[in-house]
Amino acid sequence: MKEFVNKNRYMTMLLGLLAVILVLFTITKGSLLWTGGTWKGIVMQFPEYGVITLGIMFCFVSGHIDMSFVALGDFASIIAVRYMAAHTPENGTNGQIMGVILVGLLIAVLIGALGGVINGVLIAYLNIPPVMATIAMQLVWLGLSTALTQGYAVNGVPALYTEIGHSNVFGFIPFPLLVFIIVFIICAFLLKFTTYGEKLYMLGSNIKAAKFSGINTKAMLIGTFVFADVVATIGCMLMVSSNNSAKADYGTSYVMQVILILVLAGVLPDGGLGKITNVVLAIVTVQIISSCINMFKDLNIYYANMIWGGLLIVVLILGTKLNGEGLIRKKKKA
């Protein structure tokens, strides 16, 4: 037990947090919390930003940060939805419509990849600090989307697309959850079992040493941003199916939420740290907190941001203790 706690400090903290929250809300809103509907909602909602988080985790492990992913994903989905709306034949067969949807998805993924290349080049080749570079790109994508749409939602998503998004695979797995599971398997495999993942953690701990060990750090960084932004774009395409439209400012709150989840899971932007299983646990925890907050109908929804901000600060304080010298030093003195 003690060994487990020492080896998995973040997991222990997350499980503890989860337990506290469940107890707290069981006492206050137990009758609402323990219903099938609530848990179905939870399972339906977290894959959207869960997928995004898994992608952005790669940036964090490499020791970099990305602020542009939601704006980029929104731009990609606007273009994709416009394409789908314009090319879906009326009274077309499901096969024809499916073809259009696939081309639309391909367009979105390509735009996501382009955004990743731009981020990677700005950071790896032009040495612009990642926060600055990606905030600037966030503004660029947001500006483009707003100019294209005048700020209105883009409608005309094929009915089939929304239908698939709300379907249950094998009758019981919600489609978004299936996407999340597939993305999780791919990400976990890359991080744990490939040379790419191994190099990514090493590069994140000391990029200079990685370079001196013959690793092509620039190519690695560009590849990582491309992967992260493509995965984030896929998350935004899930958002399209649940909103039945695309818009320049969908999911803007996800930027901070994704950062919160990653930090909560011990994937700090300093790089080289963090386990993907903890990220999944953190995603679920945050979704449960968010669903529970929604149960308090009289609580002004705008307080939610304040709660997230406060939680981020608490987590950061705990995080420095868990990783840094805080805890260790205390131990030494004892």
Partner: protein
């Protein structure tokens, strides 16, 4: 008044149950230089931190100027006249020399407003104490390590220091700078200040110190006059084993050179560098800091592209444009600064060792063979006697010497033709140094071509069968066999 400025008796200190200091005794005489020697991790720094008040002792007695001292805090230590000059020097790199000198006394005095004139006076007074001349308005960060050190010494003197503790001050200095530092140390000693000099370099200790205290595993194993000790005894006390100082004898030199460098030039770095290297050789490249030796090495590893000239490897001309290319051409490079360039400290030892050979340790699809990585690391752990019980522990848990062994293993586990070592034993203790040298000799005799870049002349002389001396970017001398002596090299460098 007592004969001693500072006496410490039976000092003990434990961290989490581990004894860092075990009944250590030592004495410092005023107006003398006392050397505290020992390998990395023997408790030297802990002892210094107890004297300076950073740590509190568990047991033992401290007597300063004949008065027993019960509790030392950092402020108390400063008031008593104890000043420590740490390895990182605790300077503000973006402030000027003047600001660096004056800031402490300004803060202590509690002054709220800036008075440039007063700052300048304080700074001048500090510099005058050792008769040192430097531009007061130069940015601290732009000075050489030696200059920074002298400024730090001046700053310490402002506090009427009676005891100055220098923590491995010579690590980053060239021979010439060390001489200059020693002149200052002697000057301070003659003015009645006691100097406690922490080092693990045998020659330096014999050159500068009057008394010596040797520590091993948290105990002091010898303390007394330096003059009563021979260098061999000294090494024995430090490491607890007899060391042999074997000079490298090449046994297996190939006829054809493996590496030929012809008229290599990168203006501002080095010019018209021509040399060749055969298998089985250990070639030394030495010269002062700024002589172009590191820049040349980086060019051979693809990190500093030359402007003209050619590099020939195994008979064919090559362009080394990146470390990846260098690795493909079977060139390895152990960098100068292992902490920033050599290691991922917060990652396991095993992953650090295998970082440059992941291709060999994965299948065609890039999927890792985790067990092979651990096995590979285990082999190096044993071959190099890296002091750890588990290769899955972080690299940061090791001492400097063991960390350097990791960086070396990283390259040696590759199939290499040429290995370039830049300052392979900087900050490495005597025992680990010996291990590293012995393995490099063995590898050279197995057919590896090695280049050692170093300004530690005794290292160059014992390990290299041929030496190139660089000065201001040019090769100014070359010698081999019996001609390779410290005196011969010094003659050319100066």
């Amino acid at each position: 008044m007592s004969e001693y400025l500072l006496e410490m008796k039976g000092i003990c200190k434990s961290f989490a149950g581990v004894r860092a200091l075990d009944h250590v005794n030592f004495k410092v005489r005023p107006g003398k230089v006392m050397c505290l020697a020992g390998e990395n991790g023997c408790g030297k720094s802990t002892l210094v931190k107890i004297i300076s008040g950073v740590y509190t002792r568990d047991e033992g007695e401290v007597i300063f100027e004949g008065q027993p001292v019960t509790k030392i805090t950092p402020a108390e230590a400063t008031r008593m006249g104890i000043q420590v000059i740490y390895q990182d020097l605790s300077i503000f790199p973006n402030l000027t020399v003047m600001e660096n000198l004056a800031i402490n006394s300004e803060i202590t005095a509690g002054v709220k407003f800036v008075n440039r004139k007063r700052w300048e006076e304080t700074a001048k007074e500090a510099l005058s104490k050792i008769g040192y001349n430097i531009d007061l308005y130069a940015k601290m960060g732009e000075l050489s390590v030696a200059d920074k050190q002298l400024v730090a010494i001046c700053r310490a003197l402002l506090f009427n220091a009676k005891l100055i503790i220098m923590d491995e001050p010579t690590t980053a200095l060239t021979k010439k700078e060390v001489d200059a530092l020693f002149t200052t140390v002697r000057q301070l000693r003659d003015s009645g200040i006691a100097i406690m000099f922490i080092s693990h370099k045998t020659e330096e200790i014999f050159e500068i110190s009057d008394d010596v205290c040797i520590m091993r595993n948290g105990k002091n194993v010898y303390s007394g006059l330096t003059s009563e000790l021979t260098p061999d005894q000294f090494t024995y006390y430090m490491t607890g084993r007899e060391l042999t100082n074997d000079r490298f004898e090449p046994k297996n030199i190939s006829r054809e050179p493996v590496l030929k460098v012809d008229q290599l030039t990168l203006p501002g770095n080095y010019e018209n560098v021509t040399f060749s290297l055969r298998k089985g050789e250990i070639l030394g490249i030495t010269g002062l800091l700024g002589s172009g030796r590191t820049e040349l090495a980086l060019s051979l590893f693809g990190l500093n592209n030359p402007k003209s000239g050619t590099i020939t490897l195994n008979g064919s001309q090559v362009k080394i444009t990146s470390p990846m290319k260098a690795q493909k051409l079977k060139i390895g490079y152990v960098p100068e600064d292992r902490l920033t360039e050599g290691l991922c400290l917060q990652q396991p030892i095993a992953d650090n060792i295998t970082l440059a050979s992941l291709k060999r340790l994965s299948n065609a699809l890039g999927i890792l063979k985790h067990q092979d990585i651990l096995d590979d690391a285990q082999i190096w752990k044993e071959k190099f006697s890296i002091a750890t019980d588990d290769v899955r522990k972080f690299a940061s848990t090791l001492s400097g010497g063991n960390q350097q062994k990791i960086v070396l293993s990283k390259w040696l586990s590759n199939d290499l033709d040429v290995l370039i070592l830049n300052g392979p034993t900087v900050g490495v203790d005597v025992g680990a140094k010996q291990d590293i040298h012995a393995l490099v000799h063995e590898l050279a005799n197995e057919g590896l071509a090695v280049i050692i870049i170093s300004d530690d002349l005794s290292e160059v002389v014992t390990n290299c069968n041929r030496v190139i001396v660089m000065k201001e970017g040019r090769i100014v001398g070359e010698m081999d066999g019996d001609q390779v002596t410290e005196d011969n090299i010094l003659e050319i460098i100066r």
